[in-house]
Symmetry: C2
Subunit: 492 residues, 2 copies
């Protein structure tokens, strides 16, 4: 608190790291690449979870829980998936520690407690889940199977950043099984739509729905749908993915069902997930040099009320009025905190709530009581006004809705002014270096060209937008024919 943040223009990356720590969202831990999610950060994640969980359940999904550890023999069953994750797996090899005879007071791995088969800490759960589904699916009557899991996963990333890329992260992973290809594709699309809906209406983050190219696809998927967002520094961030897995896992784990016609067929699959990475997207989309800015729909406290008082008597008089306001706000479904701590001055409280992104702040002192007014401050615009206590609750509720939309529109405006069409590689490089953002360009459809562009510029194809229009053109890099534009960007 009270420390000055590095500004975004000075050093965006440093600004982000400082903000996450100073706003009490998360911090690095003693375990390489793993973070501690602090109570305030976790409260935001809980709000995200609650909304997503509701959306999943409303579309017929149920939660379940599968083991953390995956036997190596299962992990390696789906070859592409195994290949994709093998390089970043934490592996359990022993099941006991013992006193270290060479170092009194220290422990060591017990050499007699070596596992016959190594266990992989799940980087994703397709393997263990499809091995389980084998026992659950016999007939078309068992389908569709619509399951979600809230869990922790591990991917041994070499370069980590709080929320954006951590060795351990929290996420949800949906795993569904269907009788037909068509139904599975519809499910993958539906879940990508739900992610887009959540991003836009709760996180106030505009996203582009698209398909990944082969090189950016999930290991083991036939098709990966995604939502892509744009951060304030012009870099893109993949905010959620939904995979059509074809029959790859059904074949690897031999999961067949008897169709209505009495035939044995392999099941069709999807998987889809979003993670604590969304916290990074939320922070980077809206926050400013004063700290976090939260959309009201995900703020743990939508309003904070700070009393300005010189003595106990004044605080009592103020509290009486505040309690009425609090009650009225709660009856309207607004979450509000009365910050009556006597250990901090009002200025320090203002600074803390600003840093922590509380959407609205109400300050009320003895003079206000006389006048029947309060001071109302908006976090997003940093504007203040004096307003009547009469009708304050309704005003606050309306203002919260207004802020939610304003944040979305601001982000949308930034995003839309940062999609640039280019028709040559020179133009591409120039826009990438000067303006950033999404670059819409023709591409010849080959992995080779995509790789070369990546090597030369660090930009990747973020997605082939679902709403891309057919348009004859030439690949900006090779000049070969192309029939639609794709979106490139540097990405988190």
């Amino acid at each position: 608190m009270g420390k000055n943040l590095t500004t975004r223009s000075e050093d965006y990356s440093k600004w982000y790291n400082e903000l996450v720590v100073q706003a009490d969202l998360a911090e690095n831990s003693a375990v390489r690449g793993c973070m501690v999610i602090k109570p305030y950060g976790y409260a935001i994640w809980e709000k995200m979870q609650a909304e997503l969980d509701r959306m999943f359940k409303e579309t017929g999904h149920q939660n379940a829980y599968f083991p953390l550890l995956v036997p190596k023999s299962l992990f390696e069953a789906e070859e592409k998936n195994a290949e994709g994750f093998a390089k970043e797996c934490a592996v359990v090899t022993h099941y006991r520690l013992q006193n270290d005879p060479d170092n009194p007071g220290k422990l060591r791995v017990d050499p007699n407690a070596k596992l016959e088969e190594e266990l992989v800490v799940r980087p994703t759960s397709e393997a263990i889940i499809w091995n389980t589904y084998k026992g659950w699916i016999q007939s078309y009557r068992d389908l569709p199977l619509l399951i979600n899991q809230w869990a922790n996963v591990m991917r041994w990333e070499m370069r980590t950043r709080l929320f954006l890329r951590t060795a351990e992260f929290l996420w949800q992973e949906g795993h569904t099984a269907h009788a037909t290809k068509k139904e599975a594709i519809a499910e993958a699309e539906q879940m990508n739509d739900i992610y887009a809906d959540f991003a836009e209406n709760f996180m106030a983050i505009p996203v582009i729905k698209g398909l990944k190219t082969e090189s950016e696809r999930f290991a083991g998927a036939d098709e990966t749908y995604c939502i892509e967002a744009l951060m304030q520094d012009g870099k893109a961030l993949q905010a959620g993915t939904s995979h059509f897995l074809g029959q790859n896992f059904a074949k690897a784990f031999d999961v067949k069902f008897t169709s209505k016609e009495g035939k044995q067929e392999h099941v069709w699959a999807t998987s889809w997930g979003v993670s604590t990475r969304l916290m990074g997207a939320l922070i980077m989309t809206h926050s400013d040099d004063q700290g976090l800015v939260l959309p009201p729909n995900l703020a743990p406290n939508q309003v904070v009320i700070v009393p300005i008082f010189k003595n106990e008597e004044q605080l009592e008089a103020i509290s009486e009025v505040v309690n009425g306001i609090v009650k009225e706000l709660r009856s309207l479904g607004v979450t509000v905190k009365f910050d009556s701590r006597d250990t901090l001055r009002p200025g320090a409280k203002f600074a803390q709530h600003e840093l922590q992104g509380v959407p609205l702040r109400i300050a009320i002192g003895s003079r206000d009581l006389e006048n029947g007014t309060v001071e109302l401050a908006r976090r997003d615009t940093l504007s203040k006004e004096t307003t009547s206590i009469d009708g304050i609750a309704t005003k606050v509720k309306d203002l919260l809705a207004e802020i939610q939309l304003a944040l979305h529109d601001k982000a949308l405006n930034y995003r839309d002014t940062h999609i640039t069409e280019v028709n040559s590689f020179d133009e591409f490089k120039e826009v990438l270096e000067t303006k950033g953002g999404f670059i819409s360009a023709h591409w010849d459809g080959t992995m080779e060209t995509e790789d070369k562009i990546k090597d030369l510029t660090k930009a990747t194809i973020r997605c082939i937008p679902l709403d891309a229009v057919e348009e004859p053109g030439e690949c900006m890099f090779t000049g070969k024919k192309s029939n639609k534009r794709v979106l490139f960007a540097k990405a988190y």
Copy 2:
């Protein structure tokens, strides 16, 4: 479904295992000792979580998340805690797999990706959390620190049973820090009271609050509070524990604070937890030879409505009436499912809902429509009545409250008639073998006597009840002096 359960009197243990699987609560997985929690079982766990989480938050606790993996050097810092858990730790030693040159298509641990320091999969999180608290606590203003975590943990148990003892389980673990010993003890007691409240009012399980003896205490605690329940086979089950940790972890991790008087002092600590083990307690307390019996306060569906129809037309007429009932029930806060599946006959649906413990079942056919009646069946008593559709919603709501109390009273009656006072070891052995349950006896207070009794009978001291009255007596085993009775039992 439809398979016959082994009865409790035939083989209680087999009955339990079959019930858990047949009622779709959980099953064993491909990973030794680890279970899959199936959607129906997980839905019950979610209801438990929601209530507990509310109770924790109402008493000022906040959720946070700490890393899964604990570096060995932190794990071993608090000596007793390390010693207590070292023998059952899963240990991560490597961070990469590679293609196995000797087995094409297979993977092996990459010998070049060995960790410098091994990482223990958390069996409990005191070590990683207290290492973190060191950075969070400087002054008395930072106290109390009241944090809870919902997480998975691993303990490499040799003999496992679904829910009751699994290598991985889900739990919550509270970890709090306080300025004074008195305050920490009050917190440990408060959380044990919350567990008792939850067990009695939501799970409908009567519990005895008590203290553990030294040999049953949590490794690293100065005192362990517990709630002990009694299962239908006369064995006790520890349903929750709350530990006063003294300054043990503060000293091991050097966590000090500046007091109001400006002195540097070590912090006082508690930790407390309940786990998916509660599912085992819930199942074993109330269920019968027909399957699961759920208390209404934790049932995912409190009421199920089954239509009896011969054709589409009848179903439509019934549905219209049912939709009205459903709406009314929901407005009263009752969770209800209209089971209109056309793939199962009513009898098969009845069997399924009975097996899965739905508290109330309403059946409604064409004849009922004419008469303005429904058939209402109670799961706990297996009784049925025909009753008027008018006022059915209110009747159902009242009946659910009645069932909740009836289950508790039945369990309380069983428990109270299975607490036996004995005054000699012969009597003790006889009661243990013939009747089981809790045995209230004098004990000389030594670990030696406790161990001998355990070796001879497998019974342990479940707790020293908090409400035990001072009463002069002699240890039933050694004849030495004792001033209060303790509770012995064989336990899960």
